[in-house]
Amino acid sequence: MSVIVFTVIVLLGSYFAGLLGSLTGLGGGFIVIPLLTLVLHVNIHYAIGASLVSVIATSSGAAAAYVKEGITNIRIGMFLEIATTAGAFTGAILAIYIPAQYIAVLFGGILLVSAAMSFRQLAERTVNQQSYLASKLKLGGSYPVNHEVVEYGVTNVVGGFATMILAGVISGLLGIGSGALKVIAMDGVMRIPFKVSTTTSNFMIGVTAAASAVVYLQRGYIHPAIAMPVVIGVLLGALSGSKILVRAESSGWLRKIFAIVITLIAIQMIYNGIAGKI
């Protein structure tokens, strides 16, 4: 295959990865990795490197728009980044001792349950009461919906923090962005509105992935000929996605996309775990 053909195929695939990634708060790596490995027969090491770069590109590209619109909650993001970065660090150390396929199967199982749950709760809900710890940490906030400002409170900070540590550990173990678990921690556990959860997850993913990417860069996993179309495609997709999300009136259909995406990742993880591919 010539360099130009390869570049065009990866560019188009990455555009859709970026679009879906920014709409759901996930990294987009779940499309980039299968495209590179299964369709284009790229070595898994290069695919992981490119996927990580795509995760950072989606995160920063989309987060720039969300932060400006005032949807992202910077304090929640910063506070929970303690958990995700510490978790990722722990996970990367654990990765030396634990066979990854067990984790993958378990993780896939957790995802399937969450996907089923997000299909049932289709209404955007906000909590008015705030827990003691949440108000101490000033986690509550507001976000704009159709020129109106919706106030929300945050509950179960400890539960959310613990889930974020788990998200970080999984991310360190498997080299993924763990966006799905981040959204679950905020939306499901801490009762943060879905739109705020997905955008704040997007905002956080870049930081966790950046620390990993430095190591992958040193290991020679990040090849410029692959990363180039991935970064450009994913960024254009993420920018389109963020425009759609900012204008979206209801997040009901977003939840459906999220649930479908989560189910696909879960099946992929379980399959790879059982097949011993992870």
Partner: protein
Amino acid sequence: MASREKSKKHIPRDTDAGTKTPGSFKDKDMQAVIGWILRIGVFVSTAFVITGGIIFLFNHGHSQIDFVSFNKVPDFIGHISGVMDGVIHLKGQAIIQFGIVLLIATPVLRVVFAGIGFLIEKDYLYTFISILVLLIILTSMISGHAG
């Protein structure tokens, strides 16, 4: 980098126009600054990736590629000094790689500037939280254990 510093000082001044309290740097200003850093970081790094990509495609567009086996990256972009040298000599892959390095640095810079923002807001709890996050990232990078 210098232009980032400059704009950062401009934003609180603009919002001070209405209220005269010194240090009235608010969350809204921080959102603007952080959004701006992410935007500039992504824009600059993409500009390098696209420029490098055009040079690379121009020189190697019709050559065959094969990524089936893992051979690490070409030697000249395997370390930062090689990348810098390649950028000066307008080597496509080195310019792409330099853009990637800037892209990876963007979220870390974002944490640094959030920390500075919280400091200006006199929100010392969140200044501490930002420093803590930065320290964890640095430890992870230096120890080479990052996920």
